[in-house]
């Protein structure tokens, strides 16, 4: 155990899990369960903040089977790579749980819904903190199970179970590749501690490392919804209740990027992955453009925003595929920004839907006049996505493009300049829709529940703040990754 605040690593997920059991004690009251969950999220952020002051710390709770072949340990660790992701997870969870106070007011079986939401957050936190391959896999599957139960139990619309089945099968396909890759890693290296395992396999022949890298990249790409394996995302995001959508889009997509960075890029090292660079960059590019293009044609507001995530994850993959520390820190920065922006977009969309009971794109006319604040939030969120200067996307996309240019594939990097244009196109579609004057005056909107509006305001403030502080934020992330510098 190193670091004075290392026990905080155990405390945070434990607190979330205890809270998830505690909300079940008093069934029926949504308000109470929501308040308790929000409190648990806030409280569990504290020990992690304290641990972060110690910068890099790790703790081995229990090492039962390390003497066995393929033995495992219950080991956690917080380091430069996981800190931004943990921060993102907590920012998004805070917004989602606050928003849920309003959104899930009249949901059925609220205690189970909140309990699963807390398990979902705890499992993502577990995945980020896990310092053991098996513990990571267990958290990874728990994340899938919790989110699938939320989708099937509280999904909106008649297709909830079909969508969940598809989501589950896609995700499990990715997980199986990861399980195979990590089983191979554990056997070849004789260790399940990632750092030790990867150090032990460095001398393996390059083709072996490359096929391992390809398995890891594909496995994590499913969670990131990169284009050929993105099929689960639009439906899942569209049917999920809004707090779940926020967590799926803002926090869970980031888990895929985290896995790629931690296991593929940092673990195997850029030299081994070089042959994969061009295909990965190309996939990122395809995702960027395809997601944007699909967004253009969507008729449903939530699907519209969901496809924008496909496009945004394309940017992230593009940055990771640069296989450089500049690309890695730019994509981490982009992930952070994406978490906030996507939360803001979904939250504002939820306010619009709750106020007008309309979610079709064609019903968005005159929203700008009727609901000025949510419309402004949507516009600012879209502008940030498209990379307008003082906003979030500007810094990160700039740094991503630079990293792409330095990566030595000028043609692909040039193609990446098209993506912001496509993003701008779909952003303008919604903005223009909201400014339209319809022939018939639509019915007056009702007020959305107060916690939804207040938390959306907070998200807007965070997006603006993170945009204005883009430079310092980027430097903070780059400073947090000294280990990456050492490896790359």
């Amino acid at each position: 155990m190193t670091g004075p605040w290392a026990p905080g690593l155990v405390l945070a997920p434990a607190l979330l899990l205890v809270a998830s059991a505690a909300v079940l004690l008093r069934p029926g009251s949504a308000r109470r369960a929501g308040a308790l969950s929000l409190l648990a999220v806030l409280l569990s952020a504290l020990p992690l903040t304290a641990a972060w002051v110690g910068r890099r710390c790790d703790v081995i709770l229990w090492a039962p089977g390390t003497a066995e072949p393929g033995g495992t340990a219950l080991a956690l660790r917080l380091d430069g790579l996981s800190i931004p992701f943990v921060a993102n997870l907590f920012a998004v969870s805070l917004l989602a749980f606050w928003y849920a106070l309003g959104y899930l007011e009249r949901v059925r079986r609220p205690e189970w819904c909140y309990s699963l939401l807390l398990v979902f957050v705890a499992s993502m936190l577990g995945g980020l903190l896990a310092d053991d391959l098996l513990l990571f896999l267990v958290s990874w599957e728990a994340m899938l199970l919790a989110s699938a139960l939320l989708l099937v139990g509280w999904g909106e619309g008649p297709r909830a179970s079909a969508v969940t089945l598809r989501y589950f099968i896609y995700s499990q396909g990715g997980s199986l590749l990861l399980i195979a890759a990590m089983a191979w890693l554990a056997h070849t290296s004789g260790s399940t501690q990632p750092e030790a395992a990867f150090r032990a396999i460095r001398h393996q022949p390059l083709p072996v490392l490359q096929s391992l890298g390809a398995m890891l990249f594909v496995g994590f790409a499913v969670k990131m919804a990169i284009v050929p394996v993105h099929g689960w995302l639009p439906d899942a995001h569209a049917i999920a209740p809004m707090p779940v959508t926020i967590l799926l889009a803002g926090a869970m997509l980031a888990m895929g990027a985290y896995g790629m960075l931690r296991f593929a890029l940092l673990g195997l090292g850029p030299a081994a992955l070089m042959p994969l660079q061009a295909p990965l960059m190309a996939l990122g590019l395809v995702s960027q453009v395809y997601g944007a293009w699909q967004s253009l044609g969507q008729r449903d507001l939530k699907r519209f925003i969901a496809y924008s995530s496909v496009s945004q994850m394309g940017y992230v993959l593009f940055g990771i595929a640069a296989l450089s520390s500049a690309g890695a820190s730019a994509s981490v920065h982009h992930i952070l920004g994406h978490g906030l922006v996507k939360s803001l977009l979904f939250m504002a969309a939820g306010v619009v839907i709750a106020s007008t009971s309309r979610r079709r794109m064609s019903g968005m006319a005159a929203i700008g006049r009727l609901l000025p604040v949510p419309a402004l939030s949507l516009s600012i969120g879209l502008a940030a996505t498209a990379g307008f200067p003082p906003l979030l996307g500007f810094h990160t996309e700039w740094r991503l493009l630079l990293a792409g240019l330095e990566a030595g594939h000028p043609l692909l990097a040039a193609g990446a300049f098209a993506a912001p244009v496509a993003t701008l196109a779909y952003a303008l579609v919604l903005v223009a829709r909201m400014m339209e004057c319809p022939a018939h005056e639509p019915p007056a909107p009702v007020a959305a529940p107060r916690p939804m509006r207040v938390s959306t305001g907070l998200a807007l403030a965070l997006v603006l703040l993170a945009g204005f502080l883009g430079g310092p934020l980027g430097r903070w992330i780059a400073d947090l990754l000294p280990e990456m510098e050492a490896v790359l």
């Binding site: 039962p64 066995e68 393929g70 896999l137 267990v138 728990a142 099968i169 499990q172 199986l176 399980i179």
Partner: protein, 479 residues
């Protein structure tokens, strides 16, 4: 302390069966009493088995050599069988409350397990044959236990025909081996050069493969396991069918079969089983038939593991096969027991009947869903440990064919979600209006919860079983 002779557990089970039968003649309607008695006899046998501990030899009284030999793999399988049997016996107390003949059920249950334990312990071909036939004979009757229904008779008949055919091949094979080697003891000192030995091995393999429902001889299993009482299906699917795979591996090692050839054959047939089981399960509309097809697929996984280990002469895949076997026994047992309780209280046979039972019977539905997810390999249940162990073991084999097998295994477990998840979805699906749930007996719930707790323990803490499995694999490899 001297270890207890390995014959004691079999003797306890056999004598217990007589005692239970006599008690049942006196008090035929006291199902709970009979169940408690049966469960305690099985628990006593389990205790005796564990205190005898491998390796443990019992000399034969009829021929030179030894009749029983408790080796680590046999100990692992026999203890799994007895654990599952104890739970099934307890569960039967309420489950059989409406049936007419508990006086036949419980003694047969004990005989079936006596056969199972005996077959794992046998160190002589003929002893092995007798115990296999004992297990099978008892299970034919138990499949057709609800003889008032035509379907049960049909299923029992089908099962008896295929099973007896398997036994005939086994016996013929044993005869041929005996003709060439003049010996029945296990392990044989050396392989005989004659073709009779090879042919005998082929017949033994064929007979055991039929009994283990390995593709393409898998067709009888869904009928038998779909129609038997759920408590019996739990034991049949959980332990009796995989038992034959273990016997096959043990005999192949002990009789000096050409291991690579037999290993690749087992791998290929396992791949066939995996594909057939998973694909056919997708189209099932009856819950228990679906579980039966899932057993075919899972036996396919075990065949892959054992087959690869034999083909490449490595102990680790074989150990993974043992872990898969034990995990499957507990998970499939739990799935059948939970499904049986839904049938008992709500008459649920088809998948549609399961609609909304998640609300009416939350505990049984929850356990069924958990068992299915465990079979699909989700942590922290033992399916995940088995899957990881198999992939981990395959990573150590430097063979392209093994990697192809791993890919097929992964694809199979992905396809299996296509039938496990819709079943769970049915349980969670909300009907517009439903009656409230029935009150469940504690004696239905407690055994299931106990089994679930054991299963969870094995999933979270697989190391003791994994250690035993590795030991068993190394031991078999040394023969």
């Amino acid at each position: 302390m001297n270890p207890m002779p390995a014959i004691v557990p079999i003797a306890i089970l056999g004598a217990g069966s007589t005692v239970v039968y006599l008690v049942a003649r006196v008090a035929p309607r006291r199902t709970s009493l009979l169940a408690a008695l049966t469960a305690s006899i099985m628990a006593a046998a389990l205790g005796a088995l564990l205190s005898s501990g491998p390796p443990n030899r019992v000399p034969s009284i009829v021929s030179p050599g030894e009749a029983l030999f408790l080796e680590p793999g046999g100990c692992l399988i026999a203890s799994t069988a007895l654990v599952l049997g104890t739970i099934v016996a307890l569960y039967s107390a309420r489950y059989l409350a409406l049936d007419r003949h508990p006086d036949r059920y419980f003694p047969l249950l004990l005989l079936m397990l006596a056969g199972t334990v005996g077959a794992t312990l046998a160190s002589d071909l003929f002893t092995l044959y007798l115990f296999v036939v004992l297990t099978n004979g008892a299970s034919y009757v138990l499949v057709a236990f609800r003889r008032e229904t035509e379907t049960a008779i049909e299923a029992g008949f089908k099962y008896a025909i295929t099973g007896t055919m398997g036994s005939m091949f086994l016996l013929a094979g044993i005869a041929l081996v005996f003709r060439d080697t003049g010996s029945l003891s296990l392990p044989m000192p050396a392989a005989a050069p004659g073709t009779g030995h090879q042919l005998g091995l082929g017949l033994i393999t064929f007979g055991l493969l039929v009994k283990a429902a390995v593709f393409p001889a898998h067709t009888w299993l869904p009928d038998a396991h779909g129609r038997a009482p759920s408590s019996i299906s739990a034991l049949l699917s959980g332990i009796i069918v995989p038992l034959h795979i273990y016997l096959l591996v043990k005999l192949a090692m002990a009789l000096h079969a050409p291991q690579p050839a037999l290993g690749w054959l087992l791998t290929a047939l396992g791949a066939g089983s995996l594909i057939a089981g998973n694909v056919l399960a997708l189209r099932q509309s009856y819950g228990k038939r679906l579980l039966g097809y899932s057993t075919i697929a899972q036996v396919g996984y075990m065949c892959l593991a054992f087959g690869l280990g034999m083909a490449l002469g490595q102990p680790e895949p074989i150990a993974a096969g043992f872990l898969l076997l034990v995990g499957h026994a507990l998970l499939k047992g739990l799935a059948f027991l939970a499904k049986g309780s839904l049938h008992l209280y709500y008459g649920a046979t088809t998948l549609n009947d399961l609609t909304d039972l998640g609300r009416r019977a939350p505990l049984a539905s929850g356990l069924l869903s958990a068992a299915l997810l465990g079979l699909a390999g989700m942590p922290p249940l033992p399916g995940f440990a088995g899957k990881f162990a198999l992939l981990w073991a395959i990573a150590g084999l430097d063979s392209r064919a093994a990697y192809a097998v791993a890919a097929l295994f992964l694809l199979g477990s992905l396809v299996s979600l296509g039938y496990y998840l819709p079943l769970i979805g049915r349980l969670l699906h909300r009907a517009p209006q439903t009656a409230p749930g029935h009150r469940h007996s504690r004696w239905i719930h407690l055994p299931m919860v106990g089994l679930a707790a054991l299963t969870l323990l094995l999933g979270v803490w697989p190391w003791p079983v994994w250690r035993m499995a590795l030991e068993a694999a190394r031991f078999l490899g040394g023969w």
